[in-house]
């Protein structure tokens, strides 16, 4: 199975399973792939999600960034990206453009059986928890079970 075949299937599943706000796209100029779309939370706010598909995908974990709003701010008004890797906020190394990287699966838990649909699902959970953080000032980690994955 080639990476392209797998991504084509993943794109179709996103659309068939109610995640049509997200899609997988090919960039012919660079022959690279990205998965992206707009996530809308229960409060109605929109967030742009951008998942770069590494050459090693699906064995290699794909990083998922929030590209808009940028900067994404904490309850105290600080940029989350400045926290870097944070357990309290469930974030990993930010992108060089300042985009926050959501910790959907840690690298030591990732494997090729996990599909992008589940990655976007976790991102949506993260966003709901983020909005709770913005309302209360409590750590985002308090609103999401540690994102350990059983499989």
């Amino acid at each position: 199975m080639t990476q392209r075949q797998r991504l084509a299937l993943e794109h179709q599943i996103l659309h068939n399973e109610g995640f049509s706000q997200f899609g997988v796209y090919h960039y012919p100029a660079y022959d690279t792939y990205n998965a992206s779309g707009t996530a809308t939370t229960n409060s109605g706010r929109g967030y742009q999600l951008f998942c770069t598909i590494p050459a090693g995908y699906p064995t290699e974990r794909p990083p998922l960034y929030i590209t808009d709003p940028n900067p994404l701010l904490t309850f105290n008004g600080a940029a989350i990206s400045r926290l870097g890797v944070s357990h309290a906020m469930h974030t990993l190394e930010p992108h060089s453009a300042g985009w926050v990287q959501i910790c959907h699966w840690r690298a030591d838990r990732w494997h090729a059986g996990i599909v992008l649909q589940r990655v976007f699902l976790k991102a949506m959970l993260w966003l709901e928890a983020y909005e709770q953080h913005c309302s209360t000032g409590r750590d985002l980690a308090e609103f999401v079970r540690t994102m350990q994955e059983a499989a």
């Binding site: 299937l9 068939n16 796209y25 090919h26 090693g56 064995t59 840690r106 494997h111 059986g113």
Partner: protein, 483 residues
């Protein structure tokens, strides 16, 4: 009898009791031979000399390489003499030719090798004269030249014959090593086998050295780390190797055991950035031995091995080495590492945290994970079993005494427990002495589980995944494109 012959006989008699040879426990004066000989304790000899075995063990040893001498033989016979250097050990008690040394003592002893009884004036050091002999060619102090003539060596130090103080022996490395393996291992096959060893920590380095002892001829070593002081209590490398890369330390350990082995080293990380390099090494290998501790590297290696259809064995200790496990993967025929992770996620995640790098890999940087390495003696059973399974793979379908183990080691997954670790499912195991059927410590368990036919790495993931969502994989539209 000449003085030289008599000295030689006395030396042999003393060596016989020094080596505790059966029936040689004391020295007596033999009136017929007019020299000292070794006899057994029971023989009545009022003239027995009061020399014990420990007293008799007084000979230094000078070791020359037979292979090197055969190679240089035309030069020696033509030139008459040339210099040879030795590494001096234990205040000169043992002198080992530098060509034999992977790591020298740091103290050199120069010598001149002379063909026959020529008089030479050495610049410095000993003179070793190679002279014909009628002694048995099977003796270690006899060298057989390329023209099939037996020679022995006479040693002169500072102008004096030292035949009584040092013995010159000839080491014919490869035949002597093969002799010890023959009959159990198919040495000819192993010499031609290439093993890629990825991860050279305590377990990985131990496996590599065991395979070298068994006669594997070609190694590809990959590890990015250097040996640290803290490693020394576990790693085969010692304190004098601290600071060196583990690939180079392990290369030298391999060559100490198998000097003819070809060892290629790659001080590199096993990461997706090095994917092409690792893939190239996998292609060269007959077997991959994975001793890395983190899931990403194991899954990367797994993907590359399955893609290249190369067998692989993965070994690792559980946290603080309370036990360990081995997965053997025969692509398309047995479960792969991805099948293992999917089928047994908790078992696949239970790893020893033996270094800060490993801790960082499984932690957020603001919430550190403690480094909790296990003891060497708890890691070595796993490494030893890993080496044995590796040998079985290398000798697969070939005649070998180890073939009888194939039915014993038929399972894909092997589990070993060093102790009933609190907080684990093994905490309440019965004591070893009381259990007959239940799981206990210090036993290997071969465990069967099925290969995932729809594994994303070794199976038909696409069809299975598509079917689960009611899609036809042959009718998927092309991905939308963006600039």
């Amino acid at each position: 009898m000449s003085n030289g012959d008599q000295r030689s006989m006395i030396r042999e008699a003393m060596q016989a009791i020094a080596q505790r040879k059966p029936g040689k426990s004391k020295l007596v004066y033999d009136k017929t031979k007019r020299t000292i000989v070794a006899v057994s304790e029971g023989i009545s000899t009022p003239q027995a000399l009061n020399i014990t075995a420990d007293d008799a063990d007084m000979f230094g040893v000078v070791t020359l390489s037979s292979g090197w001498l055969r190679e240089k033989w035309p030069d020696l016979t033509k030139a008459g003499s040339f210099p040879v250097d030795f590494s001096s050990w234990d205040d000169g008690d043992a002198l080992t030719q530098l060509e034999l040394c992977i790591q020298g003592s740091g103290t050199h002893a120069p010598a001149t090798l002379v063909f026959g009884h020529q008089q030479v004036q050495p610049a410095m050091g000993m003179v070793i004269s190679i002279v014909p002999t009628d002694k048995s060619t099977r003796r270690p102090d006899v060298f057989v030249s390329p023209d099939n003539i037996a020679y022995r060596a006479e040693l002169t130090e500072s102008g004096e014959a030292t035949v009584g103080r040092r013995e010159v022996v000839f080491a014919d490395i490869e035949p002597q090593l093969d002799l010890r393996r023959a009959g159990i291992l198919e040495t000819t096959i192993l010499k031609d086998r290439t093993v890629l060893c990825i991860g050279l920590g305590t377990g990985g380095a131990h496996v590599a050295v065991e395979l070298a002892k068994s006669g594997v001829g070609h190694f590809l070593l990959v590890d990015r780390d250097r040996l640290s002081v803290g490693n020394v209590v576990r790693h085969p490398g010692g304190i004098s190797q601290v600071g060196r890369t583990k690939v180079n330390v392990t290369r030298d350990l391999i060559l100490e055991k198998n000097p003819r082995a070809k060892v290629d080293v790659h001080a590199a990380d096993v990461s997706f950035d090095n994917r092409d390099m690792i893939a190239g090494l996998v292609q060269q290998a007959d077997l991959v031995v994975c001793g890395t501790d983190n899931r990403q590297s194991k899954l990367l290696i797994n993907e590359l091995c399955v893609s290249a259809n190369k067998p692989a064995v993965y070994g690792g200790a559980f946290r603080r080495a309370y036990g360990g496990q081995i997965l053997r993967v025969r692509p398309k025929h047995s479960p792969c590492q991805q099948c293992f992770v999917s089928a047994l996620p908790e078992e696949a995640s239970d790893v020893e945290v033996s270094s800060q790098d490993d801790a960082d890999a499984i932690a957020y940087s603001d919430r550190p994970v403690a480094v909790e390495p296990g003891l060497s003696l708890d890691v070595l059973p796993i490494a030893t079993q890993l080496a044995k399974l590796a040998l079985l793979e290398l000798l697969a379908d070939k005649s070998s005494t180890l073939n009888v183990l194939k039915r014993d080691f038929d399972a894909p997954w092997y589990l070993w427990l060093n102790r009933p670790e609190p907080g684990t499912q093994y905490a309440d195991m019965p004591p070893l002495s009381e259990s007959r059927d239940e799981m206990t410590i210090n036993r290997w368990y071969g465990i069967y589980f099925d290969r995932d036919e729809q594994c994303p790495v070794c199976g038909d993931f696409l069809s299975g995944f598509a079917a689960a969502y009611g899609l036809d994989p042959s009718k998927l539209p092309a991905l939308p494109e963006k600039d």
